[in-house]
Protein backbone atom coordinates (compact mmCIF):
# COMPACT_ATOMS: atom_id res chain seq x y z
CA UNK A 1 0.00 0.00 0.00
CA UNK A 2 1.37 3.41 -0.93
CA UNK A 3 0.84 5.61 2.11
CA UNK A 4 0.24 9.01 0.62
CA UNK A 5 -1.33 10.75 3.58
CA UNK A 6 1.72 10.89 5.79
CA UNK A 7 2.41 12.45 9.11
CA UNK A 8 3.65 15.89 8.19
CA UNK A 9 6.75 17.36 9.73
CA UNK A 10 5.62 20.89 9.09
CA UNK A 11 2.22 22.40 8.56
CA UNK A 12 1.74 25.75 6.89
CA UNK A 13 -0.21 28.59 8.42
CA UNK A 14 -0.27 31.29 5.82
CA UNK A 15 -2.12 33.90 3.82
CA UNK A 16 -3.05 32.78 0.33
CA UNK A 17 -4.34 34.80 -2.59
CA UNK A 18 -7.78 34.04 -3.94
CA UNK A 19 -7.63 33.58 -7.72
CA UNK A 20 -11.28 32.64 -8.27
CA UNK A 21 -14.39 32.37 -6.15
CA UNK A 22 -17.54 31.56 -8.04
CA UNK A 23 -20.90 29.94 -7.56
CA UNK A 24 -21.08 26.62 -9.36
CA UNK A 25 -24.44 25.35 -8.09
CA UNK A 26 -27.18 26.96 -5.97
CA UNK A 27 -25.45 26.17 -2.64
CA UNK A 28 -21.94 25.40 -3.85
CA UNK A 29 -18.95 27.59 -4.56
CA UNK A 30 -15.54 26.93 -6.02
CA UNK A 31 -12.55 28.86 -4.71
CA UNK A 32 -9.13 28.65 -6.34
CA UNK A 33 -6.15 29.67 -4.20
CA UNK A 34 -2.58 30.40 -5.09
CA UNK A 35 -0.71 28.27 -2.55
CA UNK A 36 2.39 26.68 -4.10
CA UNK A 37 3.78 25.31 -0.83
CA UNK A 38 0.54 23.55 0.03
CA UNK A 39 -0.11 22.36 -3.54
CA UNK A 40 3.38 20.82 -3.65
CA UNK A 41 2.71 18.62 -0.64
CA UNK A 42 -1.00 17.99 -0.53
CA UNK A 43 -2.62 14.66 -1.38
CA UNK A 44 -6.27 13.87 -2.21
CA UNK A 45 -8.43 13.54 0.88
CA UNK A 46 -6.56 16.18 2.86
CA UNK A 47 -8.12 19.49 3.90
CA UNK A 48 -7.40 23.07 4.93
CA UNK A 49 -8.62 24.98 7.96
CA UNK A 50 -9.90 28.24 6.50
CA UNK A 51 -10.29 31.49 8.42
CA UNK A 52 -13.58 32.89 7.23
CA UNK A 53 -13.55 36.26 8.97
CA UNK A 54 -11.00 38.81 10.20
CA UNK A 55 -13.11 39.25 13.34
CA UNK A 56 -13.68 36.90 16.28
CA UNK A 57 -16.99 35.69 14.85
CA UNK A 58 -17.09 32.98 13.63
CA UNK A 59 -14.35 32.00 16.03
CA UNK A 60 -13.32 28.65 14.57
CA UNK A 61 -11.83 28.02 11.16
CA UNK A 62 -13.74 25.87 8.71
CA UNK A 63 -12.37 22.55 7.47
CA UNK A 64 -12.65 22.45 3.67
CA UNK A 65 -11.42 19.50 1.63
CA UNK A 66 -9.09 19.91 -1.31
CA UNK A 67 -11.07 19.34 -4.48
CA UNK A 68 -8.20 19.77 -6.93
CA UNK A 69 -4.47 20.02 -6.37
CA UNK A 70 -2.30 21.51 -9.09
CA UNK A 71 1.32 21.30 -7.99
CA UNK A 72 2.66 22.62 -11.30
CA UNK A 73 0.65 25.80 -11.20
CA UNK A 74 0.81 26.05 -7.43
CA UNK A 75 -2.94 26.21 -7.00
CA UNK A 76 -5.53 24.39 -4.97
CA UNK A 77 -9.27 24.35 -5.48
CA UNK A 78 -11.77 24.25 -2.64
CA UNK A 79 -15.37 23.36 -3.35
CA UNK A 80 -17.53 24.37 -0.43
CA UNK A 81 -21.18 24.17 0.40
CA UNK A 82 -22.84 27.11 2.13
CA UNK A 83 -24.10 25.61 5.38
CA UNK A 84 -23.57 28.28 8.02
CA UNK A 85 -22.19 31.71 8.83
CA UNK A 86 -18.55 30.83 8.04
CA UNK A 87 -19.09 29.41 4.58
CA UNK A 88 -21.53 32.22 3.85
CA UNK A 89 -18.78 34.76 4.55
CA UNK A 90 -16.51 32.89 2.14
CA UNK A 91 -18.94 33.48 -0.71
CA UNK A 92 -18.36 37.25 -0.73
CA UNK A 93 -14.57 37.04 -0.82
CA UNK A 94 -13.22 38.47 -4.04
CA UNK A 95 -10.42 37.32 -6.35
CA UNK A 96 -7.23 39.21 -5.55
CA UNK A 97 -7.92 39.32 -1.83
CA UNK A 98 -6.20 37.14 0.75
CA UNK A 99 -7.48 34.34 2.93
CA UNK A 100 -5.70 32.67 5.85
CA UNK A 101 -5.41 28.90 5.73
CA UNK A 102 -3.69 26.14 7.67
CA UNK A 103 -2.71 22.96 5.89
CA UNK A 104 -2.47 20.59 4.24
CA UNK A 105 -4.01 18.65 7.11
CA UNK A 106 -5.06 15.10 7.84
CA UNK A 107 -4.36 11.78 6.23
CA UNK A 108 -5.64 11.37 2.70
CA UNK A 109 -6.62 8.46 0.48
CA UNK A 110 -4.11 5.73 -0.32
CA UNK A 111 -3.77 3.34 -3.23
CA UNK A 112 -1.74 0.34 -4.13
CA UNK A 113 0.11 -0.50 -7.33
CA UNK A 114 -1.73 -3.83 -7.31
CA UNK A 115 -5.17 -2.24 -7.63
CA UNK A 116 -6.40 -2.16 -11.22
CA UNK A 117 -10.11 -1.39 -11.05
CA UNK A 118 -11.47 0.96 -8.42
CA UNK A 119 -14.68 2.82 -7.72
CA UNK A 120 -15.22 6.15 -6.07
CA UNK A 121 -18.60 6.70 -4.49
CA UNK A 122 -19.57 10.29 -3.73
CA UNK A 123 -22.68 11.99 -2.50
CA UNK A 124 -23.52 15.67 -2.16
CA UNK A 125 -20.59 17.79 -1.00
CA UNK A 126 -18.59 14.57 -0.49
CA UNK A 127 -17.97 14.43 -4.22
CA UNK A 128 -15.54 17.38 -3.99
CA UNK A 129 -12.40 15.61 -2.64
CA UNK A 130 -12.99 12.68 -4.99
CA UNK A 131 -12.13 14.87 -8.00
CA UNK A 132 -8.49 15.16 -6.88
CA UNK A 133 -8.46 11.47 -6.00
CA UNK A 134 -9.84 10.42 -9.39
CA UNK A 135 -7.25 12.57 -11.12
CA UNK A 136 -4.46 10.77 -9.23
CA UNK A 137 -5.95 7.32 -9.68
CA UNK A 138 -6.22 7.82 -13.44
CA UNK A 139 -2.66 9.14 -13.57
CA UNK A 140 -1.62 5.96 -11.76
CA UNK A 141 -3.28 3.93 -14.54
CA UNK A 142 -6.34 2.67 -12.68
CA UNK A 143 -9.69 2.06 -14.27
CA UNK A 144 -12.02 4.30 -12.26
CA UNK A 145 -15.76 4.01 -11.87
CA UNK A 146 -17.10 7.34 -10.59
CA UNK A 147 -20.47 6.80 -8.94
CA UNK A 148 -22.02 10.13 -8.08
CA UNK A 149 -25.20 10.89 -6.22
CA UNK A 150 -27.25 13.97 -5.37
CA UNK A 151 -30.77 14.89 -4.37
CA UNK A 152 -31.45 16.39 -7.79
CA UNK A 153 -29.67 17.51 -10.95
CA UNK A 154 -29.13 21.07 -9.74
CA UNK A 155 -27.32 19.73 -6.66
CA UNK A 156 -25.01 17.35 -8.49
CA UNK A 157 -21.40 18.36 -8.12
CA UNK A 158 -18.51 18.16 -10.58
CA UNK A 159 -19.89 15.41 -12.85
CA UNK A 160 -18.35 17.13 -15.89
CA UNK A 161 -14.88 16.98 -14.29
CA UNK A 162 -15.12 13.24 -13.86
CA UNK A 163 -16.14 12.80 -17.51
CA UNK A 164 -13.30 15.09 -18.68
CA UNK A 165 -10.81 13.19 -16.56
CA UNK A 166 -11.84 9.94 -18.21
CA UNK A 167 -13.61 8.11 -15.41
CA UNK A 168 -16.56 5.81 -16.12
CA UNK A 169 -19.26 8.03 -14.70
CA UNK A 170 -22.60 6.77 -13.36
CA UNK A 171 -25.10 9.11 -11.78
CA UNK A 172 -28.08 8.71 -9.47
CA UNK A 173 -30.45 11.40 -8.20
CA UNK A 174 -33.06 10.94 -5.50
CA UNK A 175 -35.77 12.54 -7.63
CA UNK A 176 -34.68 11.04 -10.95
CA UNK A 177 -34.04 14.48 -12.49
CA UNK A 178 -30.71 13.22 -13.85
CA UNK A 179 -29.16 9.80 -14.29
CA UNK A 180 -30.81 6.93 -12.47
CA UNK A 181 -33.60 7.58 -9.98
CA UNK A 182 -32.50 6.31 -6.61
CA UNK A 183 -29.39 6.13 -4.46
CA UNK A 184 -25.77 6.01 -5.52
CA UNK A 185 -25.41 2.84 -3.46
CA UNK A 186 -27.64 1.04 -5.97
CA UNK A 187 -25.09 1.93 -8.65
CA UNK A 188 -22.33 0.53 -6.48
CA UNK A 189 -24.28 -2.68 -6.01
CA UNK A 190 -24.53 -3.07 -9.79
CA UNK A 191 -20.85 -2.41 -10.33
CA UNK A 192 -19.90 -4.83 -7.57
CA UNK A 193 -22.09 -7.49 -9.18
CA UNK A 194 -20.60 -7.09 -12.64
CA UNK A 195 -17.00 -6.00 -12.03
CA UNK A 196 -14.16 -7.20 -9.86
CA UNK A 197 -13.30 -4.08 -7.86
CA UNK A 198 -9.95 -3.87 -6.07
CA UNK A 199 -10.82 -0.85 -3.92
CA UNK A 200 -13.72 1.48 -3.16
CA UNK A 201 -13.34 5.08 -1.98
CA UNK A 202 -16.28 6.78 -0.36
CA UNK A 203 -17.14 10.31 0.73
CA UNK A 204 -20.61 11.60 1.41
CA UNK A 205 -23.47 11.75 3.89
CA UNK A 206 -23.37 9.31 6.81
CA UNK A 207 -26.29 7.08 5.68
CA UNK A 208 -24.61 6.69 2.29
CA UNK A 209 -21.25 5.94 3.87
CA UNK A 210 -22.82 3.31 6.13
CA UNK A 211 -24.51 1.65 3.14
CA UNK A 212 -21.27 1.66 1.14
CA UNK A 213 -19.37 0.12 4.04
CA UNK A 214 -22.01 -2.62 4.35
CA UNK A 215 -21.98 -3.40 0.62
CA UNK A 216 -18.19 -3.52 0.32
CA UNK A 217 -17.90 -5.61 3.46
CA UNK A 218 -20.33 -8.20 2.08
CA UNK A 219 -18.51 -8.19 -1.27
CA UNK A 220 -15.10 -8.38 0.46
CA UNK A 221 -13.86 -5.29 -1.38
CA UNK A 222 -11.48 -3.06 0.60
CA UNK A 223 -12.98 0.35 1.22
CA UNK A 224 -11.71 3.71 2.42
CA UNK A 225 -14.11 6.25 3.82
CA UNK A 226 -13.66 9.96 4.41
CA UNK A 227 -15.46 11.05 7.58
CA UNK A 228 -16.79 14.36 8.74
CA UNK A 229 -17.06 15.68 12.30
CA UNK A 230 -17.16 19.12 13.90
CA UNK A 231 -13.57 20.31 14.25
CA UNK A 232 -12.01 22.79 16.62
CA UNK A 233 -8.32 22.98 15.80
CA UNK A 234 -8.02 20.72 12.75
CA UNK A 235 -4.56 19.59 13.84
CA UNK A 236 -5.26 16.99 16.52
CA UNK A 237 -4.90 19.05 19.69
CA UNK A 238 -8.44 19.73 20.86
CA UNK A 239 -9.86 16.18 20.60
CA UNK A 240 -13.17 17.59 19.45
CA UNK A 241 -13.67 15.61 16.23
CA UNK A 242 -13.34 12.01 17.30
CA UNK A 243 -14.88 8.93 15.74
CA UNK A 244 -15.22 5.47 17.24
CA UNK A 245 -12.81 2.86 15.91
CA UNK A 246 -11.76 -0.68 16.72
CA UNK A 247 -8.11 -0.80 17.79
CA UNK A 248 -5.71 -3.51 16.61
CA UNK A 249 -6.32 -5.41 19.85
CA UNK A 250 -10.05 -5.26 19.19
CA UNK A 251 -11.03 -2.76 21.87
CA UNK A 252 -13.09 0.32 21.15
CA UNK A 253 -11.35 3.65 21.15
CA UNK A 254 -11.61 7.14 19.66
CA UNK A 255 -9.50 8.43 16.81
CA UNK A 256 -9.24 12.03 15.69
CA UNK A 257 -10.97 12.66 12.37
CA UNK A 258 -8.72 15.67 11.68
CA UNK A 259 -5.40 14.00 12.44
CA UNK A 260 -5.84 10.22 12.18
CA UNK A 261 -8.27 10.73 9.26
CA UNK A 262 -10.37 12.12 7.69
CA UNK A 263 -9.77 8.99 5.58
CA UNK A 264 -10.08 5.67 7.42
CA UNK A 265 -10.26 2.08 6.27
CA UNK A 266 -13.88 1.02 6.56
CA UNK A 267 -12.99 -2.03 8.67
CA UNK A 268 -11.71 0.08 11.56
CA UNK A 269 -14.60 2.53 11.79
CA UNK A 270 -17.57 1.75 13.99
CA UNK A 271 -20.89 3.40 13.24
CA UNK A 272 -23.44 3.74 16.02
CA UNK A 273 -26.99 3.27 14.87
Amino acid sequence: MVRRGRDLLMVYSLKTRILENKKILPDFYEMVLSAPAIAAEAVPGQFLMVKTSPTLVPFLRRPISLSRINAEEGTITLVYQVVGSGTKLMTVMTPGSEIEVVGPLGKGFTWSVKDKVVAIVGGGCGIAPLVALTEELLKAGKEVYALLGAQSRDKLLSDKYFIELGAKVMIATDDGSFGRKGFVTQLLEEVINTTRLDQVYCCGPLPMTKAVVKLTKEALVPCQVSLEERMGCGVGACLGCVCKVRSEEGSLTYKKVCHDGPVFTSSEVIFDD
Binding site: L56, V102, C238, V242
Partner: protein
Protein backbone atom coordinates in the same frame (compact mmCIF):
# COMPACT_ATOMS: atom_id res chain seq x y z
CA UNK B 1 16.67 45.41 26.47
CA UNK B 2 13.16 44.59 27.58
CA UNK B 3 12.67 41.99 30.27
CA UNK B 4 9.86 39.56 29.55
CA UNK B 5 10.89 36.98 32.16
CA UNK B 6 8.70 36.34 35.17
CA UNK B 7 8.57 33.77 37.93
CA UNK B 8 5.39 31.91 38.80
CA UNK B 9 5.17 29.41 41.64
CA UNK B 10 8.96 29.22 41.62
CA UNK B 11 8.96 28.34 37.90
CA UNK B 12 11.15 30.74 35.93
CA UNK B 13 9.74 31.48 32.49
CA UNK B 14 11.46 33.46 29.70
CA UNK B 15 8.19 35.16 28.86
CA UNK B 16 4.76 35.14 30.50
CA UNK B 17 2.89 33.39 27.68
CA UNK B 18 1.89 29.78 28.25
CA UNK B 19 -0.45 27.43 26.44
CA UNK B 20 -3.54 26.36 28.37
CA UNK B 21 -4.24 22.75 29.18
CA UNK B 22 -6.64 20.90 26.91
CA UNK B 23 -5.94 23.14 23.95
CA UNK B 24 -2.40 22.07 23.18
CA UNK B 25 -2.32 18.28 23.52
CA UNK B 26 1.17 17.26 24.62
CA UNK B 27 2.72 19.79 22.26
CA UNK B 28 3.28 17.49 19.30
CA UNK B 29 0.61 19.02 17.05
CA UNK B 30 1.83 22.59 17.41
CA UNK B 31 5.50 21.59 17.16
CA UNK B 32 4.76 21.30 13.44
CA UNK B 33 4.11 25.05 13.34
CA UNK B 34 6.91 26.53 15.45
CA UNK B 35 9.71 25.88 17.91
CA UNK B 36 8.01 25.18 21.25
CA UNK B 37 11.05 26.57 23.10
CA UNK B 38 9.75 30.04 22.23
CA UNK B 39 6.87 29.63 24.70
CA UNK B 40 6.93 30.67 28.33
CA UNK B 41 5.59 27.30 29.48
CA UNK B 42 3.37 24.49 28.23
CA UNK B 43 0.45 23.22 30.28
CA UNK B 44 -0.29 19.82 28.84
CA UNK B 45 -3.58 18.00 28.37
CA UNK B 46 -5.46 17.00 31.53
CA UNK B 47 -3.94 13.75 32.77
CA UNK B 48 -5.74 11.14 34.84
CA UNK B 49 -4.58 8.01 36.67
CA UNK B 50 -6.09 5.62 34.14
CA UNK B 51 -6.49 6.26 30.41
CA UNK B 52 -9.81 7.94 29.60
CA UNK B 53 -11.88 7.62 26.46
CA UNK B 54 -13.75 10.86 26.99
CA UNK B 55 -17.30 11.67 25.94
CA UNK B 56 -18.91 10.59 22.66
CA UNK B 57 -19.17 13.14 19.83
CA UNK B 58 -20.47 15.73 19.16
CA UNK B 59 -17.98 17.26 21.55
CA UNK B 60 -17.84 20.79 20.16
CA UNK B 61 -20.28 23.58 19.47
CA UNK B 62 -19.30 26.96 18.14
CA UNK B 63 -20.85 29.97 19.84
CA UNK B 64 -20.43 33.71 19.27
CA UNK B 65 -16.70 34.46 19.77
CA UNK B 66 -16.25 31.16 21.53
CA UNK B 67 -16.83 27.46 21.69
CA UNK B 68 -18.41 24.90 23.95
CA UNK B 69 -16.70 21.59 24.51
CA UNK B 70 -17.39 18.36 26.31
CA UNK B 71 -14.23 16.39 25.50
CA UNK B 72 -14.37 14.67 28.89
CA UNK B 73 -10.63 14.47 29.63
CA UNK B 74 -9.70 11.98 26.93
CA UNK B 75 -6.05 11.14 27.70
CA UNK B 76 -3.70 8.15 27.70
CA UNK B 77 -3.26 8.04 31.51
CA UNK B 78 -0.40 9.23 33.69
CA UNK B 79 1.95 6.29 33.08
CA UNK B 80 1.76 6.69 29.29
CA UNK B 81 2.26 10.44 29.69
CA UNK B 82 5.40 9.85 31.78
CA UNK B 83 6.72 7.23 29.37
CA UNK B 84 5.79 8.72 25.98
CA UNK B 85 4.94 12.39 26.21
CA UNK B 86 7.15 14.07 28.82
CA UNK B 87 10.44 12.67 27.42
CA UNK B 88 9.43 13.84 23.93
CA UNK B 89 8.41 17.29 25.10
CA UNK B 90 11.58 17.59 27.20
CA UNK B 91 13.64 18.08 24.03
CA UNK B 92 12.40 21.65 24.09
CA UNK B 93 13.74 24.33 26.39
CA UNK B 94 10.38 25.11 27.96
CA UNK B 95 8.92 24.34 31.40
CA UNK B 96 6.32 21.57 31.27
CA UNK B 97 3.38 21.92 33.62
CA UNK B 98 1.29 18.78 33.87
CA UNK B 99 -2.42 19.32 34.42
CA UNK B 100 -3.85 16.53 36.56
CA UNK B 101 -7.39 15.47 37.34
CA UNK B 102 -8.87 12.78 39.57
CA UNK B 103 -12.11 11.14 40.63
CA UNK B 104 -11.11 11.15 44.29
CA UNK B 105 -8.55 12.64 46.67
CA UNK B 106 -6.64 9.37 46.51
CA UNK B 107 -6.44 9.57 42.72
CA UNK B 108 -5.15 13.14 42.81
CA UNK B 109 -2.56 12.06 45.35
CA UNK B 110 -1.49 9.01 43.35
CA UNK B 111 -1.05 10.97 40.10
CA UNK B 112 0.96 13.64 41.92
CA UNK B 113 3.13 10.96 43.49
CA UNK B 114 3.86 9.32 40.15
CA UNK B 115 4.81 12.66 38.57
CA UNK B 116 7.02 13.73 41.44
CA UNK B 117 10.64 13.62 40.38
CA UNK B 118 9.88 12.89 36.72
CA UNK B 119 12.61 14.62 34.71
CA UNK B 120 11.29 17.55 32.74
CA UNK B 121 8.19 18.24 34.80
CA UNK B 122 8.38 21.76 36.23
CA UNK B 123 5.07 21.87 38.06
CA UNK B 124 1.58 20.49 38.46
CA UNK B 125 -1.60 22.28 37.60
CA UNK B 126 -4.42 20.79 39.62
CA UNK B 127 -7.65 20.66 37.69
CA UNK B 128 -10.40 21.00 40.25
CA UNK B 129 -12.67 22.56 37.72
CA UNK B 130 -13.42 20.38 34.70
CA UNK B 131 -17.16 20.65 33.99
CA UNK B 132 -17.22 17.69 31.64
CA UNK B 133 -16.71 14.66 33.83
CA UNK B 134 -19.47 13.12 35.87
CA UNK B 135 -17.54 12.43 39.05
CA UNK B 136 -14.91 14.68 40.50
CA UNK B 137 -13.71 17.59 38.41
CA UNK B 138 -16.00 20.50 38.96
CA UNK B 139 -17.30 19.22 42.31
CA UNK B 140 -13.85 19.66 43.86
CA UNK B 141 -13.57 23.23 42.67
CA UNK B 142 -16.87 24.66 43.81
CA UNK B 143 -16.60 24.03 47.53
CA UNK B 144 -13.72 25.72 49.42
CA UNK B 145 -13.14 22.84 51.83
CA UNK B 146 -12.97 20.23 49.07
CA UNK B 147 -10.71 22.42 46.93
CA UNK B 148 -8.38 22.85 49.90
CA UNK B 149 -8.38 19.10 50.56
CA UNK B 150 -7.25 18.34 47.01
CA UNK B 151 -4.43 20.87 47.18
CA UNK B 152 -3.30 19.60 50.60
CA UNK B 153 -3.30 16.03 49.27
CA UNK B 154 -1.11 16.80 46.25
CA UNK B 155 1.20 19.05 48.29
CA UNK B 156 1.71 16.11 50.59
CA UNK B 157 2.68 13.77 47.74
CA UNK B 158 4.76 16.08 45.57
CA UNK B 159 7.65 18.50 45.90
CA UNK B 160 6.71 20.17 42.63
CA UNK B 161 5.16 23.64 42.55
CA UNK B 162 1.38 23.30 42.76
CA UNK B 163 -0.93 25.48 40.70
CA UNK B 164 -4.66 25.26 41.45
CA UNK B 165 -6.85 25.71 38.38
CA UNK B 166 -10.10 27.20 39.53
CA UNK B 167 -13.59 27.03 38.14
CA UNK B 168 -15.49 30.23 37.39
CA UNK B 169 -18.76 28.39 38.07
CA UNK B 170 -18.96 29.57 41.68
CA UNK B 171 -20.68 32.29 43.62
CA UNK B 172 -17.52 33.82 45.10
CA UNK B 173 -14.23 32.99 43.41
CA UNK B 174 -12.19 34.65 46.15
CA UNK B 175 -13.38 32.14 48.75
CA UNK B 176 -12.04 29.22 46.72
CA UNK B 177 -8.84 31.13 45.96
CA UNK B 178 -8.22 31.86 49.64
CA UNK B 179 -8.92 28.24 50.52
CA UNK B 180 -6.37 26.84 48.06
CA UNK B 181 -3.81 29.45 49.10
CA UNK B 182 -4.22 28.43 52.72
CA UNK B 183 -3.87 24.78 51.70
CA UNK B 184 -0.45 25.51 50.23
CA UNK B 185 -1.05 26.21 46.53
CA UNK B 186 1.94 27.99 45.00
CA UNK B 187 -0.12 29.70 42.31
CA UNK B 188 -3.61 29.89 40.86
CA UNK B 189 -4.78 29.41 37.26
CA UNK B 190 -8.01 31.01 36.29
CA UNK B 191 -10.35 30.61 34.69
CA UNK B 192 -11.37 27.18 33.52
CA UNK B 193 -14.40 27.09 31.22
CA UNK B 194 -17.83 28.46 32.07
CA UNK B 195 -20.66 25.97 32.07
CA UNK B 196 -22.80 26.51 28.98
CA UNK B 197 -25.28 24.92 26.60
CA UNK B 198 -26.24 25.16 22.94
CA UNK B 199 -29.42 23.86 21.30
CA UNK B 200 -29.94 22.98 17.65
CA UNK B 201 -33.28 24.66 16.94
CA UNK B 202 -34.02 22.42 13.95
CA UNK B 203 -33.73 19.16 15.85
CA UNK B 204 -34.58 20.79 19.20
CA UNK B 205 -31.76 18.77 20.73
CA UNK B 206 -28.67 19.90 22.62
CA UNK B 207 -25.70 20.20 20.26
CA UNK B 208 -23.31 18.46 22.65
CA UNK B 209 -23.50 14.76 23.51
CA UNK B 210 -23.05 15.68 27.16
CA UNK B 211 -25.90 18.26 26.93
CA UNK B 212 -23.81 20.90 28.69
CA UNK B 213 -20.18 21.83 28.17
CA UNK B 214 -17.45 24.30 28.97
CA UNK B 215 -17.43 27.67 27.24
CA UNK B 216 -14.10 29.21 26.24
CA UNK B 217 -12.80 31.79 23.80
CA UNK B 218 -13.04 35.59 23.68
CA UNK B 219 -16.67 35.40 24.82
CA UNK B 220 -15.50 34.56 28.36
CA UNK B 221 -12.67 37.10 28.55
CA UNK B 222 -14.46 39.81 30.58
CA UNK B 223 -15.49 37.23 33.16
CA UNK B 224 -11.92 35.95 33.36
CA UNK B 225 -10.39 39.42 33.70
CA UNK B 226 -12.87 40.26 36.45
CA UNK B 227 -12.05 37.10 38.37
CA UNK B 228 -8.29 37.62 38.02
CA UNK B 229 -8.71 41.12 39.40
CA UNK B 230 -10.85 39.91 42.31
CA UNK B 231 -8.53 37.05 43.19
CA UNK B 232 -5.38 39.17 42.84
CA UNK B 233 -6.70 41.38 45.66
CA UNK B 234 -7.65 38.41 47.81
CA UNK B 235 -4.47 36.29 47.73
CA UNK B 236 -0.69 36.75 47.79
CA UNK B 237 0.24 33.85 45.49
CA UNK B 238 0.71 34.56 41.77
CA UNK B 239 -2.04 34.08 39.20
CA UNK B 240 -1.88 32.67 35.69
CA UNK B 241 -4.68 34.38 33.81
CA UNK B 242 -6.51 32.73 30.94
CA UNK B 243 -9.82 32.94 29.14
CA UNK B 244 -10.20 34.16 25.58
CA UNK B 245 -6.69 35.48 24.96
CA UNK B 246 -5.97 35.78 21.24
CA UNK B 247 -3.88 38.97 21.12
CA UNK B 248 -1.19 40.86 23.03
CA UNK B 249 -3.80 43.42 24.07
CA UNK B 250 -5.85 40.65 25.68
CA UNK B 251 -2.79 39.38 27.54
CA UNK B 252 -1.85 42.85 28.77
CA UNK B 253 -5.36 43.28 30.17
CA UNK B 254 -4.89 40.15 32.26
CA UNK B 255 -1.45 41.31 33.48
CA UNK B 256 -2.89 44.69 34.50
CA UNK B 257 -5.71 42.90 36.33
CA UNK B 258 -3.11 41.11 38.41
CA UNK B 259 -1.94 38.02 36.53
CA UNK B 260 1.79 37.29 36.62
CA UNK B 261 1.53 35.16 33.48
CA UNK B 262 -1.13 34.25 30.95
CA UNK B 263 -2.14 31.24 28.90
CA UNK B 264 -3.55 31.01 25.40
CA UNK B 265 -6.25 28.35 25.17
CA UNK B 266 -8.96 28.35 22.53
CA UNK B 267 -6.85 31.01 20.82
CA UNK B 268 -4.66 28.18 19.52
CA UNK B 269 -7.62 27.00 17.45
CA UNK B 270 -8.37 30.50 16.21
CA UNK B 271 -4.79 30.88 15.05
CA UNK B 272 -2.12 28.20 15.57
CA UNK B 273 0.49 30.96 15.78
CA UNK B 274 -1.49 32.97 18.37
CA UNK B 275 0.91 32.36 21.33
CA UNK B 276 3.87 33.64 19.31
CA UNK B 277 1.91 36.65 18.12
CA UNK B 278 0.98 37.41 21.74
CA UNK B 279 4.65 37.23 22.83
CA UNK B 280 5.81 39.45 19.95
CA UNK B 281 2.91 41.82 20.47
CA UNK B 282 3.64 42.27 24.18
CA UNK B 283 7.25 43.01 23.39
CA UNK B 284 6.33 45.59 20.77
CA UNK B 285 3.82 47.21 23.10
CA UNK B 286 6.36 47.47 25.94
CA UNK B 287 8.84 49.07 23.55
CA UNK B 288 6.24 51.51 22.36
CA UNK B 289 5.22 52.36 25.94
CA UNK B 290 8.88 52.54 26.98
CA UNK B 291 8.40 49.98 29.72
CA UNK B 292 11.61 48.07 30.42
CA UNK B 293 10.23 45.26 32.54
CA UNK B 294 7.01 43.36 32.05
CA UNK B 295 6.69 42.95 35.81
CA UNK B 296 5.76 46.63 35.99
CA UNK B 297 2.44 45.72 34.40
CA UNK B 298 1.38 43.06 36.90
CA UNK B 299 -1.60 44.36 38.83
CA UNK B 300 -1.03 47.90 37.55
CA UNK B 301 -4.67 48.56 36.76
CA UNK B 302 -5.63 52.01 38.01
CA UNK B 303 -8.73 52.00 40.15
CA UNK B 304 -9.70 55.47 41.29
Amino acid sequence: MINLAVEVAGIKVKNPVMTASGTFGFGREYSKFYNLSLLGAIMVKGTTLEPRLGNPPPRLAETPAGLLNCIGLQNPGVDAVIKEEIPWLSQYDVPIIVNISGHSLEEYGEIALRLDGVAGVAGLEINISCPNVKHGGLAFGTEPQMAADVIRTVKDKSKLPIIAKLSPNVTDITEIAKAVEAAGADAISLINTLLGMAIDIKTRRPVLSNIVGGLSGPAVKPVAVRMVWQVARAVKIPIIGMGGIVSAEDAIEFLLAGASAVAVGAGNFYDPLAPLKVIEGIKAWLEQEKIADIRELIGAVKIC
